[in-house]
Amino acid sequence: MTTSVKWIWPAVLVGMCLLPLGVGIYPQHVLIVSLFYVMMAASWNLLAGYTGQVSFGHAAMAGIGAYTSGILAAKAGLNPWIGIAAGTLFAALLGLGLGALCLKMGGIYLSLTTLAFSQILHIIIVNEYEVTRGTMGLQVPGLIPEYSKLAYYYILLAATVLVLFILYRMIHSNLGLNFRAVQNDETAARAVGVRVLHLRVLAFTAASAMAGFAGGLYGHYLLLVTPEIPSLDLQFYVLAMTVIGGMGSFVGPILGAFAINILAEKIRDYGEYHVLVFGLVALATARFAPEGLIGVWRSLRRRPAR
């Protein structure tokens, strides 16, 4: 296993670089959107899968990134790249504030507060239409002078690799060990000197920053930032991808994001059933296979050996 791991990631990366070549514009678009979802699901997984915090405001953080960068670029003429950095920072600050505010009270409070936060953000965006263009959506400039799906694909691929690399290093470090300790037994972790609250706030801030970063890039790719980004539907998508792929595993959410986003495009041909279908699948997965498809695969591999 360890020897195969060494070359599998470079191989996947080369494969991902070659993937969009020779396919049409529409499959390229689906791939770009999938990369956005990979960043979202992988960073949400850092919360739910590794530190046991269920945030319902991850899509809202992506919205913060998209709107911050979009408004700065469209109204103040700022360079979109600086805008994305600002959006990432703003999302991180909000994550820090919300995390510090409610995490000392325990997990349920974080879920409630983030859900309320995403609703409030929605209301503000719709009401302040002079700044945000409300439900019409805000037109924003692109990241590159000449629009090209292929260039956007490589930009988002690079961003995804960056986010996944940071997540991988976080999880496979002392920090990640502490995350696992807290999730397995909070009291025991506290007893051996893990600063539980700091750890949770740190994870929440980092994940929020990643969502803001992903959202900023996504907005400048779509060229139109709408309240669809900070919506509960998008939040549900991210959650379903992580749960179906495999919460608490590094690869699970990545596969889940690709699989579900591509499948959703297929199902959409038959009408607007995809949310309902994925809801039922996610419900069944969370209930019967809480470790997701990755967990099912692992247990199938393990069984013959026993």
Partner: protein, 285 residues
């Protein structure tokens, strides 16, 4: 203006209190938040619309049937989805959130995005203290909501069943040692929590019609009320519900109507900053 806003605040406040009582009951006993609470409220609205408007039943039995069906649905949810997650609060949060999205989309598919409204119980309007005239339906909603809350308190304080509920929410292990079947009680209280959401739904839907996503702000407000009142505190729900109803309506009248639901969020932040255990909460959950 002021008087009407206060009146509107009381009507909606009673409904918030009723919905929050359902959340609080479940939190107190099971330490589970049901994120599909608002969708069950909507489901009851749709049921009463279906029975009263489409099938032509009189409004009272239609409402009773709607609440009973949602109660049974709640029992089913507890048995199938919540019970396997005992001891892992995170999964119950995820499961009920997914359930809420599933129900929203199912409503959208079945009933469409249009608002649906069960028939009014009473028509016309009354003069209130000679100050202003107020819709009779809203008055009826206020009275029936208040009566239901009184009934819930009566059951909790005066009956054997209420004593079991209070005992279990105070000390689960001790209640078990005294012979309470807590598994059965979990199922029953989850069903009752859903039934309280349903009761709020059937009472308010003739005033505010139901749409597939109209449950989200109601549930969110109920959650804020529960945090404001203190998790698991029943009195906190009543005081918090009325307070939030009044704040929202006065805020909408005198500050900005578009930001009606934001005031609740501000209260939530304030509570978390100043007194995280809520008005009537125990210090540690």
């Amino acid at each position: 203006m002021l008087a009407i806003s206060v009146m509107n605040g009381l009507v909606i406040g009673v409904i918030y209190a009723l919905a929050a009582l359902g959340v609080s009951l479940v939190v107190g006993i099971m330490n589970v938040i049901n994120f599909a609470h608002g969708e069950l409220y909507i489901l009851a609205g749709y049921f009463s619309f279906l029975f009263a408007s489409t099938l032509g039943m009189p409004f009272a039995p239609a409402m009773g049937l709607a609440v009973a069906l949602v109660f049974l649905f709640g029992l089913l949810i507890e048995r199938l989805l919540i019970r396997p997650t005992y001891g892992n609060d995170m999964y119950s949060l995820i499961l009920t959130f997914i359930l809420s999205i599933v129900l929203q989309n199912a409503f959208l598919l079945i009933f469409g995005p249009y608002p649906n409204k069960p028939p009014l119980w009473v028509r016309g309007a009354s003069e209130i203290f000679g100050l202003f005239s107020y819709g009779n339906q809203r008055l009826a909603a206020l009275v029936s909501g208040a009566a239901l809350i009184a009934l819930v308190f009566l059951v909790l304080q005066k009956t054997w069943f209420g004593r079991i509920i209070r005992a279990t929410s105070q000390d689960r292990a001790m209640a078990e040692w005294n012979g309470v079947n807590t598994t059965r009680l979990n199922m029953l209280s989850f069903g009752l929590g859903c039934a309280l959401a349903a009761a709020a739904g059937v009472i308010l839907s003739p005033v505010f019609p139901v749409t597939p996503t109209a449950g989200v702000p109601i549930a969110l407000t109920a959650f804020v009320v529960v945090v404001l009142g203190g998790m698991g505190s029943m009195w906190g729900c009543v005081v918090g519900g009325l307070l939030l109803g009044l704040v929202e309506n006065l805020g909408a009248a005198f500050i900005s109507s578009g930001y009606k639901n934001v005031f609740g969020f501000l209260i939530l932040i304030l509570v978390l900053l100043v007194r995280p255990s809520g008005l009537f909460g125990r210090a540690k959950l």
